[in-house]
Amino acid sequence: MMCRVATVLLLLVSAGPLVPAYCAGVLGDITIPRKGTDSTDFMPQAFFPHWIHRTRFKCYVCHDALFQMKVGADPINMDAVREGRYCGVCHDGKTAFTVGFDTCERCHRADNSGS
């Protein structure tokens, strides 16, 4: 009996760090789905915090000129972003942080807690 209680307590304690990560999720956060396989699949999927972008731009700035409203409807890839399409329209180092090897994990991150 004591062993069972201890196991439950241990599970709760170990699950503790997961709870804030779930609670910190904001409505509209998107993890961009990945289609097909690629040599860079070891990177975490791109995370898009919708709310951060809403504090800076109105909806119609991006929709539907740059992005369709439906998640996964656009064939976004890093080549297109580096060429200045999709995210690269703003993420060029002038309007927002540039896309480079020092900023990979700002989008490609596994931990999405806290924006």
């Binding site: 800076r56 539907d64 409203m69 180092g93």
Partner: protein, 210 residues
Amino acid sequence: MRWRRCINAILIGSLFFMLGAGTGCTTETRHKILTVVFEDVPPPGQEKPPKPFIRQPRRPPLFKPPPPPRIPVKVYKPAFNTDWKEVLRKLPKDAVGGIDWVTALENGDIKPHNGIDPAHATAQPVLPLDVHLEPAAQPLFKVTFPHKPHTEWLACNSCHPRIFQMQAGADPISMEKIFAGEYCGQCHGKVAFDVATGCPQCHRALAGPQ
């Protein structure tokens, strides 16, 4: 045999000298022994540290090498607050803890740009039109759709005619379809306030008498 005796004498002499100089009884004795052979042996207590030997260049360099070229490094510094946890904390919240975007815009907590280049962008027109939709014989569930907060964020072609026809009541909107992600559910519950907890925001009679 004489040369061997000479060598022996020299060896024994040098052995005594080394013993005296290396392991002499006192420093004064060692000084005395050393001065027999060597000059400039400092007396005990007056030893100076050896001067460092610095090799000077044979000639001055022919030309001064130019300084390395300074490549200007452009560092992106955002002019807005990027402490997003603090930004999120300061944004107004609705009853269930979601961000109340309409209030945030009204209060001026956020000033979202009208275009990527805000200097050359004009705001989309805001339409102050309320559309009333009432299900048959269910006045409690009458819906008031305010165009104003929607057009502050969205353009006309964001919804018309892809999601909604321009004629009021032309679409068979139902809560079932909204929960399935059609009509209002295309945004509400995904990026705008949640459908399951935001009932009185559309069905205003459910909020009770104001």
